[in-house]
Symmetry: C2
Subunit: 231 residues, 2 copies
DNA sequence: GTAAAAAAATGGTATATACAATATTTCATA
DNA sequence: TATGAAATATTGTATATACCATTTTTTTAC
């Protein structure tokens, strides 16, 4: 009986490792489930392995003090989680929290290390993956520093649509709390509320509870410009 | 006659590749020099290879429009440059400009690819290196989003001291233009000027032209706190 | 099914910080 | 060594946006 390691065709691990290694992955992997709102791993916690998101959506976030957080990125099906912990210091620099019920594949440190040692094509692809992640992080860094708030909120909406796509009614597939949009755009809830109200009034977006539908993407994109003249 | 590939003991390339590969590196590498203020490579330019900083200091920055820039990081002797371009898209997402006269070792794409394929220990170390870079980028992302301006400026000073160290008189080894400090902290020149004046008055720092000496590191660190309650 | 807690909605105010203007000094280059 | 161009110094003002307070609605937990 053939059992596929996972059903995600573009799962990084399964698609990049040697065919004979896949069987070993099948034995070594653990499938984990988390409910909406549950923390998958927490900033400051010990790195025990690496995660591959099988289904559901996740926010990756970084804390400051008690009440402040910045959402670093949103993750979708097929994404890798916890790879930031693979540096020298085995402590997670960020937290990962489920935005919906999620299912993930967990590979422990020892087996992940062995996988990298035995699958050079995978390790090589991993280097490229990290390079792209770094590019994205630095692009977001620039956006947070140089773009004005409304532009960052507009960007957040477009980003969410890009990552998760839309459902049959045109709404962004994953409903996200306004507070999370704020935490992604680096602003506060009230500012998000005010700008979304303005966009709704202008018929650029439409909302239904937490769900958001982008009506006029072009007009939304026009909001993405900086005013701050840094440097 | 033995010729060492480079004199930097902790050069990533030389210290991590196979001994027999080092000789090949010696043949394939090119030594490049750039004058202060010269651009080593530019955002949007084609990725031709990877650089290892032999001497001098460099700013890695990202543009927005014509007049706006954010300095992503400062680089010192021994650092890798251009590794962000190693993703799928062979276009530099950032620029690198010399802050002082620099000397660097250049490895072209083809040989770098071959090096990764033939030196698994190096590739493995590279994964760790990228993971740490990603952590730092995301930490900075959070700081830019959550910290107030003066805190970011204070952080910039401490960062510069950390990276480049101080000279015999206690000044940060590399004098950086106020505008560059602003571009690193994600603010404008005037704001940097005002805060540095305040710090000088309070005898927390001392300045001599572009050179800055941190007198009271503890008091400076006290400025690193957020007021913004994001999320 | 109800209580408690969190999120959302809304408007008003304070302030941090970008923007503007101008003078002076330093630096690059011919 | 002259000369234009950056960079720096300095003060003042405008405004974007965080902060505050209150009500209503939705979600979570027992």
């Amino acid at each position: 009986m053939q059992v596929s390691s996972c059903n995600i065709s573009d799962c990084f691990l399964c698609s990049s490792c040697l065919p004979e290694w896949k069987a070993l992955v099948e034995v070594k992997k653990t499938t984990l489930r988390f409910k909406k709102g549950a923390q998958i791993f927490g900033e400051g916690g010990k790195v025990t392995g690496i995660y591959f998101l099988y289904s559901g959506s996740v926010k990756v976030h970084k804390e400051w003090g008690e009440q402040k957080e910045l959402i670093i990125r949103f993750a979708k099906k097929g994404d890798i989680l916890g790879h930031r912990g693979m540096g020298s210091d085995p402590i997670y620099p960020i937290s990962a929290t489920a935005l919906e019920d999620v299912k993930l594949c967990f590979i422990d440190n020892a087996f992940w290390e062995a996988t990298m040692k035995s699958n050079h094509a995978l390790t090589h692809k991993l280097v490229q993956f990290y390079a792209v992640e770094l590019q994205q992080a630095e692009k977001r860094m620039r956006n947070l520093a140089l773009m004005e708030v409304n532009a960052r909120i507009a960007d957040a909406l477009l980003e969410m649509k890009e990552i998760w796509g839309v459902n049959s009614e045109g709404y962004i597939s994953v409903p996200v709390a306004r507070r999370d949009i704020a935490a992604y755009a680096g602003t506060i809830y009230e500012t998000v509320f005010k700008f979304l109200s303005e966009l709704t009034q202008k018929k650029i977006i439409a909302t239904s509870g937490k769900s958001i539908r982008i009506i006029d993407e072009e007009k939304l994109k026009q909001h993405i410009k900086t005013k701050k003249s840094i440097g």
